[in-house]
Assembly symmetry: D2
């Protein structure tokens, strides 16, 4: 099989599904799965089509041209993703090991379709874990004075390795707004709090002080504004008066890793379409 995934979005209008699927049907491309969503307030249409190209009767270039003509006519935008071209993912960490382990274990077991050319950290604590999984580890320490220089090194590494997705797996540094803008929609962060509550540092301490009965974690795309980017996935776990801050940290670890891995998986499988500050997450 040769697979293709299309993301199409456009102003809502009649016949979008009919016209796109007609092109595919007419030329022997088989729709394996189609999901769509209309945002009624904004009158926007979003669609993801998963296609098997193996019996197609025309070239991929020709299909592309025909689709682009319809895209133009319908005022759509379109993205083409070929699942056999695995995305390249860089993982950024500091000292917390749980989310890193989970990404590497799920990658090893084949659940995360990607290549991992590098793990980057401002500390050396997790170097051994990278070694356990035979992933190159780059120790790029950072201080207020060297921040600009370190980010230049990160950028060089991202470019050299042709990184498609940056995953901040409890990376305790803030990237510059220029950097974030250049990788818009391609940096996923895990925040160890239930956003929009408990933004910024020490969310578990704040949660303890406030006496909440559930703590959570939030995976989101990174934007220039701290912890304000589009949310991809969230989950919570119950806590009670017996939980110290440290026990909240432990209870939260399972949620953090699960939420982050699930969000990364959705991105790698091209199941996410951005709608401004909101995300549309298709199921398959």
């Amino acid at each position: 099989m040769r697979h293709l995934i299309l993301h199409i979005n456009c102003p809502d209008q009649r016949g979008i599904i009919a016209q796109f699927t007609a092109i595919l049907y007419d030329h022997g491309a088989n729709v394996l799965n189609l999901e769509q969503h209309v945002e009624p307030g904004e009158k926007l249409f979003f669609m993801r089509i998963h296609i098997d190209l193996s019996s197609m009767e025309i070239s991929e270039n020709a299909l592309g041209e025909i689709l682009m003509a319809l895209v133009k006519k319908t005022n759509s935008s379109i993205q083409f993703y070929y699942p056999e071209n695995l995305l390249k993912m860089a993982i950024f960490v500091t000292k917390e090991s749980a989310p890193l382990y989970d990404l590497l274990i799920k990658h090893q077991s084949g659940e995360l379709p990607c290549e991992i050319p590098c793990i980057i950290s401002n500390h050396e604590h997790l170097k051994e874990i990278a070694g356990q999984f035979n992933i190159p580890f780059f120790h790029l320490p950072v201080s207020p004075e060297t921040k600009v220089e370190q980010e230049k090194e990160i950028r060089a590494l991202m470019e050299k390795e042709k990184i498609d997705l940056l995953v901040l797996a409890r990376y305790m540094q803030i990237l510059s707004s220029e950097f974030v803008a250049d990788y818009q929609g391609r940096i996923i962060n895990i925040h160890h709090g239930f956003l929009p509550a408990f933004k910024g540092n020490h969310p578990y301490s704040k949660a303890w002080e406030r006496g909440v009965k559930m703590i959570g974690a939030t995976a989101h795309y990174v934007t220039a504004e701290l912890d304000e980017g589009p949310i991809i996935e969230q989950d919570v776990v119950s806590v009670n008066h017996q939980h110290s801050v440290q026990e909240m940290v432990q209870a939260g670890r399972d949620i953090e890793r699960r939420v982050l891995t699930s969000a990364v998986k959705a991105h790698l499988e091209h199941r996410i379409i951005l709608d401004g500050r909101r995300t549309i997450i298709f199921h398959s």
Copy 2:
């Protein structure tokens, strides 16, 4: 707006989406929502299309004929549902009030699109609740000797009121297999256990004995075999060693009513397609 919901299922084949949506597009019927599912093992295709007919350029009869031609060609089966024709739902109860209350409250608040012409019970305990919501209450007591006769009365009532859906909201009687066969896919039961565990009577006592750490409820279509019909919805709640059987009953009540109401809502909104013993539940 005039709405139409189509359920289509057929052997999996190319171009199903394209061909059906082309008919709609060509004649001015607007697809509001389309969801499909392929069962790869059985090579079966299932689709639900929600359509706005208000700008259609041909008659509904003509559309029906054109669709039927394609149905024949593709070896499909099709169902037509017009949401403005509310389904007629009968509720069967015995003594437990929680699921009955929930159905009536959600109906009152507009969340359950149906008419409720009657509540039937083999006891009089819940007559007052029916009165609170101004629904006719039919007390049809039953004993081993009168079982056949009582079911005849039920059947007469269902026919007189043109009932589309029978909801067993903790109705503690077993319907005959003939009756069940005649209403196949149109009787929903709530079982107060996490099927397939704890079938039959006294599931909470069995759960306590077994020392489970979660109890659940299951809404399913009724078939001739007890608690073996296609599952629509399930949910659970945590329990611990401190829960007595009676406290499990209380904890389970919230789950039972939520699961039942949610399953009934999915049926009333024509979001369920049966695939043998499994259910496909579309989202909207």
Copy 3:
């Protein structure tokens, strides 16, 4: 049986359990259940003892005196609750019916040990529901001009009916800080958001805008600062891009009523001890 529930809190010190239980044992009072909690940071000790007095060999007055001597010695504070003296609960509502129904249904089925002498509302929408359950309904409309006067009427009613607990079941008015201070620890509110996120008005709209993947509800004691009081219970439900604000409202209703009823039940069963801004919720 004649039951007594004690709440004891004091600076953490050795022998608290031993000394209090010794008094009970020495005089024939039987401990049915004992739960305690130490807050290590604050070095505070909290304990709830559920006692059967039916075989006690001294009078209740004598027991009280002996306990008070130990309370003084250990620098504790103590509360005495006799479960057979049902608390008197007033329910405040506006237009939303779901939490009101749930309180009344659970009260009817015996799950909420209390009396409900009155339902108060600034609108007449829910008067019929009060009638369904035979609870007196007081329509006390309010405008900016009549706010002081209306609160005076509320206060008079609370005093006349000797109300112990005020439950704001989606009551859309803010009580004055004087009123709140006078009923400290005795007013429970349900907020239809996952505090501390989405405080104040229109939490579901805010949640939709922010694109969260879970919505929640929070039951808390009311303090002078809006939505900042001690949290008793929280829960969440998953939502996705398909949920409109209105569908979030529907999904949230089940959470709101469950969270509120559960919090009220904990209060009525004397299972809550306040520790500043945090709550200790014992299990039985």
Copy 4:
């Protein structure tokens, strides 16, 4: 600090808490935490006391003698656990890596208070993971012919390493009933189904066939009867018609590891008391 954890169970009777805590108080042993449970049907009393011995005024031997006198008088049984004596845990695996990884990661991060002297497997697939964490790996292959011999080797290894707890982390072999009897209450298994549903092999396939809407995992003590031992922990995750068996396997992995690790942690922290076929799980 020197800590001691006591488990006491006995026929329910007055003054158990008072008498045991009096002994501790009288001799300078400080109760850090006390939890108790009465099983009303069986009239049994269970208690866990966590004690700080560091200011005790008598010897540990003397304390033991005094406690044993009360144990005899009250017809109790008692266990003494010193948390500083870490339990020795053996992990049994076959090919599934997720639960093994989770145990090793949580052990590494200090969340599982134990020593892990060995990992045993009937296959070599997971040898490398053992190597990653520097734990000795024993490959003990087994066939119907060598089953008796292999179990003898396992037994020898358990004795040599003085193993306290055997964890079957998806070990796909059945231990003999003699072996199980000798390690009663000391073997924990993870079953990848929501017991008592889907006992035995291939629970995910069975769950798919039955069309359940949730799949689960169950950690339990192993007894001679397959998947019938006392349940320690359970959890579930929602699935729908889109999940293939393979996707259920993936979704279940997170639940399996979380449930197993949590059950193992409860055992290692001496928070579990067996009550026949039921478990009492204390919180701290």
